[in-house]
């Protein structure tokens, strides 16, 4: 393979306790730690390992988002990506528009493989990879926990509800990374310094010829329903009688 393209989304860090704004207009993101979506980090790690095995020549990290998403791309470069592209926009980009944007980058870069996370932990949509594969008219392998390559094909293990499924897809293809695909590396300080000299190109939606077409309006954001406060029991006997009281034993 010559090129692998990886999508990195800037999201609220998974350790942050999310709070919904009192007026229901969204969640509080001011002053909150932002990171690469964990699944996208796994996607990038996999691309780097493929390259390090000598099976690919170049790894391109791309992000669609605000100017600050440069931070996540710099982290991606520090992990080992060769170059980065930011499609800069302050708009909320829906999955279909993200897929259309990535397709434009694919047309420019002609990667043999695109890897993205199976879902972003902010909107939890889990759509972009499969939508991109549809628009590109290429195979998809979602929820990937293992992948090997031979003869222009990828053999993929997918985590499905009933166990592990293997499929074979011709390249080019889109993969979406699941948790157990790998454990991403930590970036070291010298890598961060080195990453500052790697190319990071910024383009606009207009440069790519993409007009956003939002279709899903978020009317309101609510905190989840709270469960009623429960009871604490002292010991196993207490547990058994509490369960009996509820008719559960």
């Amino acid at each position: 393979m010559k090129k692998i393209m990886v999508g990195l989304k800037r999201v609220v860090d998974y350790n942050v306790r999310i709070r919904v704004k009192p007026d229901g207009s969204g969640v509080i993101t001011d002053g909150v730690k932002m990171s690469i979506n964990p699944f996208d980090e796994i996607a990038l790690e996999e691309a780097l390992r493929i390259k390090e095995r000598g099976e690919a020549e170049e790894v391109i990290a791309v992000s669609i988002g605000p100017a600050d998403a440069q931070q996540q791309l710099r982290t991606g470069l520090a992990m080992g990506a060769d170059r980065a592209i930011l499609v800069q926009t302050d708009e909320l980009v829906e999955s279909l528009d993200a897929a259309r944007t990535l397709l434009k980058l694919i047309e420019k870069e002609s990667p043999e493989l695109v890897i993205v996370g199976k879902q972003a932990i902010d909107d939890d949509n889990g759509q972009t990879g499969a939508m991109l594969a549809a628009l590109w008219d290429r195979p998809q392998a979602t929820c990937v926990s293992e992948v090997t390559f031979a003869d222009g094909k990828a053999t993929v293990t997918r985590e499905v509800d009933s166990g592990l499924e293997t499929i074979e897809v011709d390249l080019p293809a889109v993969l979406t990374a699941d948790l157990r695909l790998n454990e991403p590396r930590y970036v070291k300080l010298p890598d961060i310094m080195k990453a500052k000299r790697k190319p990071l190109e910024t383009v606009s939606m207009e440069d790519l010829g993409v007009a956003l077409e939002p279709q899903l309006k978020i009317v309101k954001t609510d905190p989840p329903a709270q469960r009623q406060k429960g009871v604490m029991v002292e010991d196993v006997d207490g547990l058994i009688s509490a369960l009996k009281d509820k008719g559960l034993l």
């Binding site: 609220v12 306790r17 999310i18 919904v20 969204g26 969640v27 699944f39 999955s95 279909l96 199976k118 879902q119 932990i121 939890d124 949509n125 889990g126 759509q127 972009t128 499969a130 939508m131 594969a133 549809a134 290429r138 195979p139 998809q140 979602t142 929820c143 053999t155 997918r158 985590e159 499905v160 509800d161 166990g163 499924e165 293997t166 499929i167 074979e168 897809v169 011709d170 699941d178 948790l179 899903l216 309006k217 978020i218 009317v219 309101k220 954001t221 609510d222 905190p223 989840p224 469960r227 429960g230 604490m232 029991v233 196993v236 207490g238 547990l239 058994i240 369960l243 559960l248 034993l249």
Partner: protein, 313 residues
């Protein structure tokens, strides 16, 4: 108003209960009829199971050798080819639906609403974001087809006793050859299915080993319960991936859920919020799982599990 199409999930012989939950969701959307489509090699039998779901108008089965296995790249173009009469196209938010539906949406050039938990109006829905910590109300444009997945844990199965018409359908779609099915490795188990079990026992990292996890299985067998796990326990290799419960695993809604040695990370608890009764056993009184437990016990699981098992007789 328009017709609703539901894509059936099945294993080649039996209809998955997630399809029935899609029907329950669909009945809450104003419609001119709810149809189900079964993609299989010979789907008449599965179609007749679907026809028994109350509220369904018609069940179509598209029989084709290419439909032997659930490959999104093969099924999606067939769904797109038959989408014309429908205003809404629904699938379950299982790994089957999560793989298929966005490919369908991509082919149709429409957005998707993932994980519908509440129907507010024909194009307005509530769905979870941020691992269930923020519930959004989203309004889709009424002048396009709506593609969505249904969060199974938010719905009860549809009543039986329906008698929908069953029809074979042939669709004219170009099916790709670039994607080939290999095999499914499923751990053979005669335990209840995690997604439909009325009782679930979940173990976390604290179990410490695959061998120790046997305690959980023994107790589960005694209670007729399914076994689930946290990501930490799956990552450590104590149990297989299909037992993972949470944001990126299964979302479950049993009557009784018992957590042993689980801290209660949001990514895990988003998968159990719809459980009837939540029981937590953890040796740390400060563990966040106690904030949502109906019954809590601060104790060492290595003494609680054997004691519970023997006292349940």
């Amino acid at each position: 108003m328009g017709r609703i199409l539901i894509i059936a999930e099945h294993d080649g012989s039996t209809l998955n209960s997630s399809t029935s939950k899609c029907v329950s969701c669909a009945t809450g959307i104003e419609n001119d009829g709810i149809d189900i489509v079964v993609f299989a090699t010979s789907g008449a039998d599965i179609a007749s199971q679907a026809a028994g779901l109350a509220g369904v108008a018609k069940v179509l089965h598209v029989d084709n050798e290419a439909n032997a296995k659930p490959l999104a790249a093969i099924i999606a173009p067939q769904v797109a080819a038959m989408a014309e009469p429908y205003s809404h196209i629904l699938g379950p938010s299982t790994t089957f639906g999560k793989d298929l539906m966005p490919r369908v949406a991509g082919l149709l050039g429409v957005g998707q609403v993932s994980d519908i938990m509440t129907v507010i109006g024909p194009y307005t829905f509530q769905r979870p974001t941020y691992a269930g910590e923020a519930i959004i109300t989203v309004e889709a444009s009424a002048d396009r087809k709506l593609v969505a997945t249904v969060r199974s844990a938010s719905y009860k199965t549809a009543a039986s006793g329906g008698s929908a018409a069953v029809e074979a359908l042939s669709v004219d779609a170009n099916l790709p050859t670039h994607t080939r099915y290999g095999e499914l490795k499923a751990a053979a188990s005669d335990r209840p299915d995690l997604q439909t079990a009325s009782r679930v026992i979940c173990g976390g990292r604290a179990l410490g080993s695959k061998e120790n996890f046997d305690m959980v299985f023994k107790l589960a067998d005694k209670l007729g319960a399914a076994v689930g796990a946290t990501r930490a326990a799956v990552d450590a290799g104590y149990v297989p991936n299909e037992t993972q419960v949470g944001q990126t695993g299964k979302i479950i809604a049993p009557e009784l859920y018992i957590a042993f040695g689980i801290s209660g990370a949001i990514q895990h608890v988003t998968g159990i919020k719809d459980a009837g009764t939540i029981v937590a056993v953890n040796k740390d009184a400060e563990a966040p799982i106690f904030e949502m437990a109906d019954i809590g016990l601060v104790a060492d699981l290595f003494t609680v599990i054997p004691e519970l098992e023997s006292k349940l007789g």
